[in-house]
Symmetry: C2
Amino acid sequence: MTMKLFDSLLSPYAGRVRLAIYAKGLEVEFIMPQTEAAATLPSYTPISKLPTMLHDGHVLPESEVINEYLEDIGTEPSLRPSDPILCARMRLLTRIGDLYIMYPMGELFGQISPVDRDQMKVDEQMVELAKGMSWLDHYLDGTSYAIDNRLTLADCALVPALFFYEQIGPMFGMVAPLKKYPKIEAYFKGIKENPHAARVLKEIDAALQKMMAGG
Amino acid sequence: MTMKLFDSLLSPYAGRVRLAIYAKGLEVEFIMPQTEAAATLPSYTPISKLPTMLHDGHVLPESEVINEYLEDIGTEPSLRPSDPILCARMRLLTRIGDLYIMYPMGELFGQISPVDRDQMKVDEQMVELAKGMSWLDHYLDGTSYAIDNRLTLADCALVPALFFYEQIGPMFGMVAPLKKYPKIEAYFKGIKENPHAARVLKEIDAALQKMMAGG
């Protein structure tokens, strides 16, 4: 049974799942926002967020749940190391991305407009974000992959997160926002050479350009 | 090599890990806050949050990373189903607990004092929390365990979260805060019969009483 993914080219969470799908070469029917099919999402799950996967009669919300599921059903190549310590490191990096980088960035996205900006909230979230980035920098080794010298679920989570970090930084006065984090900078430069990561980055970038142009 | 856990009886995240540890009967050295040993935590990880585990020369921050690691190294009984769909359901429930219940509750904890309460923030977070609870209610089946009729990592995450939900509700004017969620209510009543869940709940409750008494 073909997998279906309620997708969005603008969502870093959907990008995380597409990166895994591309790396595995899976056949998936992508359901894009504002289509007739997309409108059926709430009938599958009350969470009703993108991405959500349908597979084999099952409904799978939440990007990380989907990516771990793709591992659990044995799709190849595996993007999850079998060594428990490497696997824990992978999940730690993924969680740093979700809780300590994506979360404050989500709050900052709500403050992009300088007109009704809540500067206290911005300052708070910038401190949180800097903390998350310093933790990520600590746990990366400066090579082109988050762990194990190959693509894993940690890269799937981090690549879209760092794309948005580079976008949002300058909106809040940061110049060259990755400069302060040499290992993250080297990692993000290196991972762009991976064709699947490059493909997802290109898709998100194009969708963002289109949105900014009002398209 | 003995496992060590930087622990706190008041932390729902530490409680999540202790629940897994108790269910597995693991020998662990618990390092309690305000001890000399506890002060060494920042030398192990810049994240420096509770809980953090030390095992075999490795440092493991983040409760869910620790719990998945305990599964990956094969400790028994397993608290993670091998069926991919059940496993995805388990991780979905865990994530609902973390992102959509614990997160807004964390924000509400910052607003407990009625004196300098930001009512707009409270209202916002109460809406988020109600959303998270309704999703949890949707995905539980009303039995005594989150999935699979046995203790899993989903229960480890949900038991401390629901304990704090019952505490924080009345502080913001909710009467019998679980009444609106019949499946969660039945679940939380049932899971308390599990001896390991009961033990963790008793520990958190005692620590909270002690803190409230200024001890």
